[in-house]
């Protein structure tokens, strides 16, 4: 029973619950009785621990409560399923407009593209298939870029309609090209160095698809003998051939072989060749390995790769002969018959020949 009172006293003493007089008495007691002093110290420590423990526990509870509150408010997220769902729904609500717009744009774009593809891709009709099977393309280029490129030889009020290739048949300035190249009222010719010369259309033979031009320009210096001859006789299958022409503004070489002795639809006036030719090659000379002109490149078959037709060189003789009968102005034309290129290699031949191959630009009233 004593101990209870003593402990109570110690607690009151430590809590500061003692009156001054009682406190003084108790302190005296502590001083005189080491056991009591020891008890006080021990109990103080214990109470301190108890106090700390209590605080600690209260704080832990407070933190738990705080945590729960914040989770409920959504400030703290702990991966619960409901809130995940909420997040997805939230995102959907936020972005559904954007999604809808994006989807519409994608849809419209897809429709437009398929529309364009349908519009620009060739429609297949039976009619056209027949056409294609026999269709021939004239190897002629329509000049599109004008203005700066055109030099002063073309009259200012004229516009270039077509261009192709021509080559000399007489050193005095007579050229042969295809009739279809000259779809215009006049023409200029350009040599492989880029110099332009005015030319006059002497004759157009649409049936043979041949035409004769004459360079009438003070800048032009007539050549003496041409390096090549024009071959009258026929060719054998498989003979190696080459051509020079102007599918671009620059002279282009191309080679191939004779694949048939007759042309399109068994046309005996032309050959079938296998070489690559492009718009602009029309009217170009076709040479054999001896450097003789054997034909004039004129057309190619559409939808067939490397099927090209050339008018036989014999046609030039025929045309010139016919022309001489009716037109006195062409009496002077003397076609070259012998070639000086035989035995030369290809590069040397081309060097000799290329000066005689011209770019033709036909022009028309604007």
């Amino acid at each position: 029973m004593e101990d209870i009172l003593l402990l109570e006293a110690i607690e009151r003493y430590l809590n500061g619950g003692m009156l001054a007089e009682e406190k003084a008495y108790f302190e005296q007691l502590r001083k005189n009785t080491p056991e009591i002093d020891q008890m006080v110290v021990e109990h103080k420590l214990f109470l301190h621990q108890m106090e700390g423990f209590a605080e600690h526990r209260n704080l832990k509870n407070a933190l738990h409560e705080s945590h729960t509150r914040l989770v409920e408010k959504g400030d703290v997220y702990e991966g619960g399923e409901i809130s995940t769902k909420g997040l997805v729904i939230q995102l959907w609500n936020r972005y559904k407009r954007v999604t809808a717009i994006a989807a519409s744009i994608a849809g419209i774009t897809a429709l437009m593209i398929s529309g364009l593809v349908a519009y620009f891709s060739p429609a297949v009709s039976p009619n056209q298939l027949v056409q294609l099977s026999h269709k021939m393309d004239q190897i002629i280029k329509t000049q599109q870029a004008q203005g700066a490129k055109l030099k002063d030889k073309i009259p200012a009020n004229k516009v270039v309609t077509t261009s192709g290739t021509a080559f000399l048949i007489d050193g005095k300035g007579y050229l042969v090209t295809n009739a279809h190249v000259l779809q215009g009222s006049g023409a200029v010719v350009v040599n492989n160095k880029g110099t332009e010369f005015n030319a006059r259309i002497i004759n157009i033979d649409k049936e043979r698809d041949l035409a004769i031009l004459k360079i009438e320009d003070k800048d032009f210096t007539p050549l003496g003998a041409l390096p090549y001859g024009i071959k009258k006789t026929g060719l054998d299958l498989g003979e190696e051939l080459y051509t020079l022409g102007y599918p671009r503004d620059e002279i282009v070489y191309s080679m191939g072989y004779l694949s048939a002795v007759s042309g399109f639809e068994n046309d005996s006036a032309s050959y079938q060749l296998s070489l690559s030719a492009n718009p602009g090659n029309s009217g170009g000379p076709v040479f054999n390995k001896n450097g003789e002109v054997v034909g004039i490149l004129s057309t190619k078959q559409a939808q067939a790769e490397g099927v090209v037709f050339a008018i036989k060189a014999k046609g030039i003789y025929k045309m010139v002969d016919e022309l001489k009968e009716s037109d006195t102005s062409v009496q002077k034309i003397k076609l070259p018959t012998s070639s000086s290129l035989k035995g030369m290699n290809r590069v040397e031949q081309i060097k000799e020949v290329e000066d005689c191959v011209f770019l033709v630009k036909a022009y028309n009233q604007k």
Partner: protein, 188 residues
């Protein structure tokens, strides 16, 4: 400047167990810690434990008289959590490479040592109380933790009068002290 004042207010609130201040600090710092723990092999529960541990450390620091917080609460809490978590990972046998993090941290080792010592003491008290058994445990908790008066306690526990309750309390207290001091080394 304003932020500094706000933080001081929050800390004072924390020291006084103000739930509003606790909420504020909690809200401002928890997510950062959670991200850190989750990114380092931890779970949501780990994040909560570690963060609350750090809050207790901060509380202890705020309560001490010599308290000066030389950095932002955020930095302090992050540093403590980082330290605690790396330690726990090591205890679990996961030897994580001590990656040099880009975040700013402050040295908290000293604070954590004190905190650990306290935690150990509290654990002794907890065990002692736990092995005391009822009604001693509740009786002492009511008196020392919930600070209830003897009259109230005697009514609550059904003692005929306060003296009897006091008597019972004394017996319980003696047992508790014995249990506590058996593990608690005074000389330490």
């Amino acid at each position: 400047m304003k932020q500094e004042i706000n933080e001081q207010l929050s800390l004072r609130g924390l020291a006084n167990n103000d739930s509003k201040a606790i909420d504020t600090i909690y809200k401002d710092n928890f997510n950062m810690v959670q991200v850190f723990i989750l990114n380092n092999n931890g779970s949501y529960d780990d994040a909560r434990d570690i963060f609350q541990e750090a809050m207790i450390t901060l509380y202890e620091k705020a309560k001490s008289e010599s308290f000066v917080l030389t950095c932002q609460i955020k930095t302090y809490v992050y540093s403590v959590c980082r330290r605690l978590w790396l330690k726990r990972l090591q205890q679990m046998g996961r030897f994580v490479a001590q990656t040099e993090s880009m975040e700013e941290t402050v040295p908290v080792e000293e604070d954590l040592e004190i905190h650990e010592k306290r935690n150990a003491d509290f654990a002794i008290m907890e065990r002692a109380l736990g092995s005391l058994g009822e009604p001693c445990k509740s009786l002492l908790e009511s008196y020392y933790i919930h600070k209830k008066g003897m009259t109230e306690i005697s009514a609550e526990f059904g003692y005929t009068n306060a003296d009897n309750a006091k008597n019972q309390k004394y017996k319980c207290l003696m047992r508790l002290k014995k249990l506590f001091f058996a593990q608690y080394n005074i000389g330490d």
